[in-house]
């Protein structure tokens, strides 16, 4: 009898148990079995699952993917292109020796989670897996079981970080197809003010990246997080992102998704204390037969918080773009203010776009709105611009840039913005 994909993954885990758990304390390793158990119980979602109907997860996992249990490539340690406070590079999910542990004068620390467990075990143990939904999300549970290395970012209480903290994940292989369980944990303590960029770059080889990110934002802390993925055309990226916000905190996320054959983003934002603000800006640009499946969930479980989500898409060729967003407002979450918008441009005659903004409200004193648009380039705008002397092609280009700029302008990390703009331009110019 042929084995199921779940069984094969379980076998892979048990065959490599020692190497996976190497360097981690028993308390962490013992939980891995629980995560694996929950993964096995839920199983890999199929297209029959409502939440996964646009992402062929089962089919993707059924392909042959090799897993690197030991680092095969050394991250390039060329200096970061931008003006960074500190920069860390990750290769196929692993940090190189140079990046084991970097601590700045202002107390900001960045490095491998294994080093962090030596330097500040309490911080790591109290936050790792505290946000990730290991009992309900099979891909997250799978990452938590297999996770070997993890980027840890720590910003101590009251620290204002002038320049950005840059994390670059590189995926590169000459082998057939490789899977990676890259991971990240950010702890921004009370009163912090910081900008972080997370880049996923995949220039060579086919990858299935099952990434999990947890971001903790303490009382009155302000964090801007820009995440940009640009994957190879045969690669798959599952991005599972979780955040937890404390009182009067602000988290602003700019997310740009490009490339890859399938990109699934699953973002969960929790307000754990009152008077906080969460902003989420997202953009995908698809072409060919790419699939971008963007899912967000904002949990207003306490009162007086505001959330703003704007996700835009440009779908060309015969690609598929999907946005499913849910804002949940609990009974006690009075005076919640939530906005959710999905805007899409259809550029290909066979492209498809699905938008499902959802509100689930149990409190009675709230301000919530949601909306979705799917359309084409506005002819009146083109006419207006041509009347000022622009050619039709330039008018279209400028309109699309304007459309995109609406999202990118919220990223204040200059060198990352430049990189995003040039990558987006490359695709848009083909439309």
């Amino acid at each position: 009898m042929t084995k199921s994909t779940e069984e094969r993954l379980l076998e892979l885990y048990f065959a490599n148990l020692d190497i996976i758990g190497d360097g981690f304390p028993l308390s962490l390793n013992s939980k891995r079995r629980d995560y694996l158990e929950s993964f096995n119980l839920i199983g890999l979602p199929s297209k029959k699952d409502e939440a996964y109907r646009h992402t062929p997860i089962k089919g993707i996992f059924e392909q042959e993917w090799e897993n690197y249990f030991i680092p095969t490539e050394t991250p390039n340690n060329l200096p970061c292109e931008g003006d960074c406070e500190c920069c860390i590079k990750v290769s196929n999910g692993f940090l190189g020796e140079d990046y084991r542990w970097l601590q700045m004068d202002n107390g900001v620390a960045i490095g491998s989670i294994k080093s962090a467990l030596q330097h500040m075990p309490e911080v790591v143990l109290s936050h790792l897996n505290s946000m990730a939904q290991n009992d309900t999300e099979p891909l997250t549970a799978l990452n938590s079981a297999f996770m070997q290395d993890c980027v840890f970012v720590f910003i101590p209480k009251g620290t204002k970080v002038e320049r950005s903290i840059c994390i670059e994940y590189n995926y590169s292989t000459k082998d057939q197809q490789v899977m990676s369980f890259a991971r990240m944990l950010v702890v921004a303590e009370d009163g912090v003010d910081a900008k972080i960029s997370v880049l996923h770059k995949n220039r060579e080889g086919s990858f299935m990246v099952n990434f999990v990110k947890e971001v903790y934002v303490g009382d009155s802390a302000t964090v801007e997080l820009t995440e940009f993925s640009d994957m190879n055309c045969n690669s798959v990226l599952f991005n599972n992102s979780y955040s937890s916000q404390k009182k009067q905190s602000k988290l602003s996320g700019v997310n740009i998704w490009l490339g890859g054959s399938v990109t699934r983003y699953n973002g969960v934002g929790e307000f754990d204390s009152t008077e906080s603000e969460n902003k989420f800006y997202g953009l995908y640009v698809s072409e060919g037969e790419q699939v971008f499946d963007i899912n967000t969930y904002v949990n207003h479980k306490v009162s007086d918080c505001s959330s703003y989500q704007q996700v835009k898409g440009i779908a060309g060729g015969s690609s598929v773009g999907s946005f499913t967003g849910r804002v949940y407002v609990a009974t006690d979450a009075q005076r919640s203010d939530a906005v959710q918008q999905s805007k899409n441009l259809l550029m290909g005659s066979d492209a498809r776009v699905y938008a499902e903004p959802q509100l689930e409200i149990y409190a009675d004193d709230v301000k919530c709105s949601h909306g979705a648009t799917v359309g084409q380039i506005n002819d009146d705008s083109i006419y207006y611009m041509r009347q000022r002397g622009l050619s039709e092609a330039n008018a279209r280009k400028l309109l699309m840039h304007g459309y995109i700029n609406d999202i990118i302008m919220h990223c204040s990390i200059e060198h990352v913005c430049d990189e995003i703009v040039s990558s987006v331009d490359r695709i848009v110019d083909r439309f």
Partner: protein
């Protein structure tokens, strides 16, 4: 400068313009008035090259060249400007960026080098004063979130930047309060020279208190039924169009 001969145009098979004849020379200001549905905005759109309208007969000569064969952008580059009745909002595109590209195209047509950044900024500053438009609008997206008055002022600002030979202002006065009307109208007057011309399409005489036309034309049912001087506008304001319409029928 502009010669319109027996111009006929229709939209979706419905005839709107039924033989327009109009001659505009450099240095002149023409006002076109007329009741709703007479074809005033259609005339403006047809001259600008809006492809929603089909020209079925006639010809238009602009600066010695036939206008009807050229594209919207080529007409604009040759110096024809249309001030829109409903300016379009373009999210994410800043006024400065938009104008920079537009001016580069206009200058390229004139065989001139593009402006340097500092020349361009100087021009922006200078021209924004024509319509008392604060610099703050320049960083904002084109017309996005602008008030009705700001949108119309922005049209005149663009006209000032592009320095057209012929400007057609399509109901620039609609939706303006008295102060904005004064600013917009004075702006147009300031831009008027001996070597350019303006066609003002309007419903109301009050705009013509500021912009003094050399000719006032009455457009009715797709034709110019009467042409007079600025006194005609006053008479129309007082007596309406009926006396003219009755006379023409």
């Amino acid at each position: 400068m502009l010669e319109i001969k027996n111009l006929h145009a229709s939209v979706g098979g419905k005839k709107i313009l039924k033989g327009i004849n109009l001659s505009v020379k450099a240095g002149e200001i023409h006002a076109i008035m007329g009741p709703n549905g007479a074809g005033k905005s259609t005339l403006a759109s047809v001259l600008a090259g809006n492809q929603k309208f089909d020209v079925t007969e006639g010809e238009v000569i602009f600066e010695g060249n036939s206008l009807l064969e050229s594209s919207v952008e080529d007409r604009a580059r040759a110096g024809l400007f249309l001030g829109f009745q409903y300016p379009v909002e373009i999210p994410g595109v800043s006024m400065a960026n938009f104008m920079k590209l537009a001016i580069a195209e206009r200058r390229r047509h004139q065989g001139l080098e593009p402006l340097t950044s500092s020349e361009f900024l100087k021009l922006m500053r200078e021209k924004s004063q024509v319509v008392e438009l604060g610099g703050k609008l320049m960083g904002r997206a084109v017309n996005e979130g602008f008030s009705g008055g700001e949108k119309k002022r922005n049209e005149i600002f663009q006209m000032a930047m592009l320095d057209p030979k012929l400007a057609i202002l399509d109901e620039t006065d609609s939706g303006l309060d008295i102060d904005a009307l004064r600013v917009v109208a004075t702006g147009v007057t300031k831009l008027h020279r001996e070597d350019n011309a303006t066609i003002v399409i309007t419903h109301y005489q009050r705009l013509l208190d500021y912009i003094v036309p050399d000719f006032v034309h009455v457009l009715y049912d797709g034709q110019i039924i009467y042409t007079g001087n600025k006194e005609l506008a006053l008479k129309l304001e007082a007596e309406g169009y009926d006396w003219l319409i009755n006379k023409s029928e």
